[in-house]
């Protein structure tokens, strides 16, 4: 396990990406907010609408706002064509810029409203045109207040930008999310520390500029501006110099298995001479769409997930028919090339602590029916929205007393501590064996099968050598090996390893 400082020092490229994203978002926010503020200062209606809208945006959780831009951009492709990116930088930029709008706009409008009326009368009296009044009087007198708004917006944006990890934009959120998934607290701490330090430094510099503007001290805001500009220039240079256009982009979802498999694929490709980039911690729907649009080249997905989410099917035709159906459907509808199955299933299953299961004599889901209303069920953040849950609920008529969302790693802790009685576990999860959990049987076959399959984007599928490099992975991983690898990452204390080293161990075991 890498130590805190070691991790911190390795975050250079995440930091530069974070700076470039935050600065662009704040810049865009300023470009939109300032003219809007000028307009608002001349019209009550505009002022009310603009401030109302900006406040409304603030009430949307940053994570939701970021996610919302995916469908928005997807629908905008009808106008701007298929090249419009729906993941990564663009949606992150737009969402964060919207978020930065309010403090800048509000401060600018307030500053204008609070200008001394005598000074404005004098400006008219000496014969200034509207533009001269704005540039010579209103702007310089409002500048310190506007700067204070930009300062607030910057601190918010730098914080919120950590969430852009979830829509595939690299930044300081990457170590935070990866650390949360694998319970590697050094990773989480390093990410939080770096983003907090960045926010503090930026706050300090912008504060210097703000005071310089208020005291009309040229050197004060000159130094502030100079350092900010230099920092930006270095970050821009570094992030563009780093960029490798030919890198194969591998996407992973928000759980350890997905991370391990992405590293396994990445290591396999790197050994064959490819350069690789990772987009970690993405949502299920986001990953599938990203592969379809070739924003991501490779991901591992599961038959049941694609069957219900993408094909919108609620029936259960059996394991083989489902896989064949998906391969055909993807080829005909999205252009995604399903290279094959990895060999194991990671199905949803309901798990209980052995002692609790014994208490209720629970062997199958049916056994829970009489007591379900006294039980609390825990699921990952997307589970209770998923068709699988709805299928199980309707097939058995299950009504739990309480439903709670946990991140996948915390779900098992919740089960241990009794905060949840039943959880939606995954069959390949190492903690099932380690925690001696009981998996409830599904006699009505409401839960579909979840074969892990390797999905290749339409663009990447043109590269025959790439497909050949990945061929040895097909059917190579059985569920025991996968559980072991998962547990080595998820466990606490001695023996806990990073997804990278778990992937190496896994590769050795399957003879790569």
């Amino acid at each position: 396990m890498m130590g805190f400082w070691e991790i911190l020092l390795s975050l250079g490229d995440k930091l530069t990406a974070h700076i470039v994203l935050s600065a662009s978002a704040i810049g865009l926010g300023i470009i939109v907010a300032l003219p809007l503020a000028v307009w608002a200062s001349r019209s009550q209606t505009v002022s009310r609408i603009a401030l109302g809208f900006a406040s409304l945006v603030q009430t949307i959780p940053a994570l939701a706002l970021l996610a919302l831009f995916f469908p928005i951009l997807l629908s905008l492709r009808a106008v701007f064509g298929e090249d419009l990116p729906t993941l990564g930088f663009l949606p992150a930029l737009l969402a964060l810029a919207l978020y930065a709008l309010l403090p800048i706009l509000r401060n600018a409008v307030t500053a204008q409203a609070n200008l001394d009326p005598g000074i404005l009368e004098a400006a008219d009296g000496v014969g200034m045109t509207g533009w001269q009044k704005l540039t010579l009087v209103e702007a310089p007198l409002s500048a310190p207040f506007i700067m204070a708004g930009i300062r607030t917006a910057s601190v918010w944006t730098i914080g919120a930008a950590t969430l852009s990890t979830t829509i595939g934009q690299p930044g300081l959120g990457d170590p935070i999310f990866a650390g949360l998934q694998t319970q590697n607290w050094n990773l989480v701490l390093a990410g939080c520390f770096a983003s907090a330090a960045l926010a503090l430094v930026v706050d300090l510099l912008l504060g210097l500029i703000e005071r310089g503007l208020a005291n009309r001290s040229r050197w004060q805001y000159g130094i502030g501006l100079g350092i900010v500009a230099a920092g930006l220039a270095i970050s821009l240079y570094a992030s563009f110099a780093d960029r490798d256009e030919n890198a194969v982009v591998i996407g992973s979802k928000q759980f350890s298995e997905s991370l391990i498999l992405s590293r396994l694929i990445g290591q396999q490709l790197e050994a064959a001479g490819y350069s690789v980039e990772y987009r970690d911690g993405l949502g299920s729907a986001v990953v599938h769409n990203a592969v379809a649009s070739s924003n991501i080249d490779i991901s591992v997905d599961y038959t049941g997930t694609v069957w219900t989410n993408e094909l919108k099917r609620t029936d259960n035709p059996g394991r083989e028919a489902m896989y064949e159906g998906i391969v055909t459907w993807e080829r005909e509808n999205t252009g995604i090339h399903v290279l094959g199955r990895l060999g194991f299933e990671n199905a949803y299953a309901f798990a209980m602590r052995a002692d609790r299961a014994a208490e209720f004599d629970a062997v199958t889901l049916e056994d829970l029916l009489p007591v379900a209303n006294q039980l609390s069920v825990g699921g990952d953040p997307e589970f209770f929205e998923r068709p699988e849950w709805i299928a199980v609920r309707d097939a058995y008529g299950l009504k739990f007393g309480e439903t709670r969302n946990f991140s996948p790693t915390f779900m098992y802790n919740a089960l241990k501590s009794g905060e949840a009685d039943v959880i939606s576990a995954y069959t390949s999860d190492g903690r099932i064996a380690a925690d001696r959990l009981v998996i409830l049987e599904d006699p009505r076959e409401a839960l579909p099968s979840y074969d892990a399959m390797l999905m290749v984007s339409p663009e990447a599928a043109k590269d025959k050598a790439l497909l050949e490099t990945l061929e040895p992975l097909m059917g190579a991983i059985n569920v025991e090996i996968m559980r072991e690898a998962n547990f080595s990452v998820d466990r606490e204390g001695e023996g806990k390893v990073s997804p990278e080293s778990a992937a190496r161990t896994l590769a050795e075991k399957i003879g790569l």
Partner: protein, 221 residues
């Protein structure tokens, strides 16, 4: 209304024979020096820059020598040009306000209660100075005031407005002689009565002093 900061709801204001609403606003305002109660110095400009703003808007640079001259005209030190407005007293600021109004060699000096916010001594001194400048520079000056004494002492011609209507148009001499109607006379009565009361007070003080003196002298003689 003269410099169209307020649009007239009826009637016309003629400036050099032309309706002010027909002139280009910014040009008109540069031809009219404007001084008002709020003073309105630009706090982020130095005194000199404040004075030079009118010509600057017209695209000219006012030479430092001319700024010094204008400061001298309003009885300020030329060195004050490099100070910021918030370092000045209220009276000094309004002097700068007058200098700013004069900087563009205006055809008309428009003063809207210019001394309203100043202490009486500053107010009196600045009023006198403006009157002198009016003579020296051959200006046309329009001044709005609520203080009839100020009007009577400074003006050549006093127009009395009541509820938006002109009720008197007289010279100060004529007003003091009792012309101009009831409203004008009731306004003239205020400073006159004040002056009479003050004179009476002074008289009684003088008499008491005299009596005291006599009383002191009485027994000894």
């Amino acid at each position: 209304m003269v410099n169209t900061l307020v649009e007239p709801s009826g009637g016309r204001v003629l400036f050099g024979g032309e309706d002010v609403t027909s002139l280009k606003q910014s040009t008109l305002r540069r031809r009219v020096g404007y001084v008002f109660q709020g003073i309105g110095l630009f706090p982020h400009f130095r005194v000199g820059e404040n004075i030079a703003i009118g010509p600057r808007l017209a695209g000219e640079k006012l030479p430092a020598q001319r700024i010094a001259e204008l400061l001298t005209l309003v009885e300020l030190e030329p060195e004050m040009a490099s100070r910021m407005p918030d370092e000045l007293s209220g009276g000094q600021r309004q002097r700068v306000g007058v200098a700013r109004a004069l900087a563009g060699d205006p055809e008309l000096l428009l003063m809207d209660e210019p001394f309203g916010a100043l202490d009486p001594i500053t107010r009196d001194a600045l009023g006198e100075r403006v009157r002198e400048l009016h003579e020296e520079l051959g200006l046309t000056t329009v001044m709005v005031t609520h203080d009839m004494a100020e009007a009577l002492l400074l003006a050549d011609r006093v127009l009395v407005m009541d509820a938006g209507h002109l009720v008197a148009d007289e010279t100060p001499q004529s007003l003091l002689a009792g012309n101009g109607g009831d409203i004008a006379q009731s306004l003239v009565a205020v400073p006159r009565e004040q002056a009479e009361k003050l004179a009476a007070m002074e008289d009684s003080i003088a008499e008491r002093a005299k009596a005291k003196k006599q009383a002191k002298q009485g027994p000894s003689s």
